[in-house]
């Protein structure tokens, strides 16, 4: 019962590339915008979900997609767990893989 009065954690953590570093994602913000705010050089181009440059693979955890990723990602990519970071809010802590052009690790 007391759980009703406990403030739910609205911020989640994205653990990137096997715990190389973490991104704190606050409620209402996307994975990409959070990463960029924290100075991480996450690959991106349009930031509106149309180019696919920010795609990443969810290893564990849940995200909340803001759009239908099927316009940009192939079915194989969707099946493999790829999402667009610029259009993904988090519903839990996640583990994610992303390929950086310049090695971020």
């Amino acid at each position: 019962m007391f759980g009703l009065f406990t403030k739910k954690n609205k911020d989640f953590i994205a653990s990137v590339n096997e715990n190389s570093f973490e991104v704190k994602v606050i409620k209402g913000k996307t994975l990409l915008s959070s990463a960029l705010d924290q100075g991480i050089d996450w690959p991106h181009r349009c930031k509106v979900g149309s180019c696919g440059s920010c795609k990443c693979k969810i290893i564990s955890g849940k995200i909340k997609p803001q759009i239908d990723f099927a316009y940009v990602l192939d079915q194989e990519e969707l099946d493999a767990g790829y999402v667009l970071a610029c259009q993904s809010e988090l519903k839990s802590d996640i583990e994610v893989e992303v390929i950086f052009k310049n090695k971020q690790e």
Binding site: C46, V48, G49, S50, D68, A70, Y71, Q75, Q87
Partner: protein, 383 residues
């Protein structure tokens, strides 16, 4: 400050309601939407030299209240629907040859019945203000939640529901390149651009749905086809106007759609005319024209801050700012009048394009600009 920042964007909602009220009142008041458009053109021209920056508090946070601004944008959907209902009612009276006489509704006097002149005024008023729905359709197209559907429905009232997808997936990605139908190359006029851009964006949306459904092994004729669905959203308008006035109703709706889409494409035209981006290179501030004189900014809910918007597409309109990009130096109303006379527009824009070529373009973009210049010269000689 917070109140001022949020209330200043209410010019279009209030003006739309006045226009709606004018159509309900009838008589000469049916023209009020057209008259307002004229008055605002004068205000925009007179205040062209006033430019403001985005206001923030000491911590850099915007004064914009998201919940309030979204409430206003969502509220505009029923306003635009009611505008069409009001026009349809007037068309019904016209076709029905209703007697023109004073009447009362809930204590308010209005003119029942309408003559041809005032029906034209009502149609133009409705068309101009329905066309301005683009500013909300555009802003909400960047909201991927329920706002996206509201955007689709607002645009569907002008038969342009495909815009919501094409704007995000085509225009924002291919801006300044020939793959973007909404970017007008040098030498094109606004009338030709309206048709090319409209058809090009619809075709893009068609192809995108075809590709997506193909990947999902679904038929093109599917409820998941959002290109088809967009036109289905426009069906109630068609049915309403045909029911209200048959052929005359259909002609009135066609006029509303043509004018509304002309305004939409004129905004695209003014936002990117003649600017060039090398394929594959990132979109930068220099790939858009800013129109951020004070009245344009408030009236068009900062849609004129294209330079910032195209680099930070996820940013709410009240947070957009002057980023030192190319700027026409005048507002949208003033520039719109110039675009209506293509030789005048080309003459006005030449110095701005020359400035862009010299001070903003990369070497590769200059080469492409030169190719356009040569192509236009050849076309002029040939004609």
């Amino acid at each position: 400050m917070k109140l001022y920042v949020n209330l200043r964007y209410l010019i279009v909602p209030i003006s739309s309601l006045i226009t709606l009220f004018g159509i309900f009142l009838g008589g000469i008041y049916a023209w009020i939407g057209v008259i307002l458009f004229g008055i605002y053109t004068i205000i925009d021209t007179v205040t062209k030299d006033i430019h403001l920056r985005a206001e923030t508090d000491d911590d850099g946070n915007s004064f914009g209240i998201k919940q309030f601004q979204y409430l206003v944008m969502y509220f505009m959907l029923p306003v635009f629907i009611t505008l069409q209902l009001a026009l349809a009612w007037r068309i019904f009276q016209y076709v029905d040859s209703s007697i023109i006489e004073s009447a009362y509704f809930a204590g308010f006097a209005y003119e029942s019945g309408i003559n041809t002149t005032n029906l034209i005024g009502a149609s133009l008023s409705a068309a101009l203000w329905a066309g301005l729905g683009i500013i909300y359709g555009h802003e909400l197209s960047h909201n991927k939640k329920e706002g996206f559907l509201v955007s689709r429905l607002i645009m569907a009232l002008s038969g342009a529901s495909h815009f919501t997808y094409a704007h995000v997936y085509n225009h924002h990605l291919d801006l300044g390149h020939q793959d973007d139908p909404a970017t007008a190359p040098r030498g094109r006029n606004v009338y030709w651009h309206t048709w090319l851009s409209h058809i090009g964006q619809s075709k893009f949306s068609f192809d995108m749905e075809k590709k997506k459904l193909g990947k999902q092994n679904k038929s093109f004729l599917s409820f998941d086809n959002r290109w088809i669905l967009g036109y289905v959203y426009s069906l109630p308008s068609i049915i309403l106007f045909v029911w209200a006035g048959g052929l005359i109703g259909l002609l009135a709706l066609a006029a509303v759609w043509v004018i509304a889409n002309f305004l939409l494409e004129a905004l695209n035209f003014m936002g990117h005319y003649g600017l060039i981006r090398e394929e594959g290179k990132p979109v930068e501030h220099r790939h858009s024209w800013d129109n951020d004189s004070v009245f344009t900014s408030w009236f068009f809910i900062e849609i004129g801050r294209q330079c910032d918007h195209h680099v930070r597409g996820e940013t709410y309109f009240w947070e957009l700012d002057d980023v030192g990009g190319p700027n026409y130096g005048i507002g949208y109303f003033s520039l719109f009048v110039l675009t209506l006379v293509p030789p005048l527009f080309r003459s006005y824009v030449k110095k701005h394009l020359d400035n862009w070529d010299q001070n903003y373009a990369t070497d590769a973009e200059k080469v492409i600009a030169k190719q356009f210049e040569n192509k236009n010269l050849i076309a002029q000689v040939a004609s």
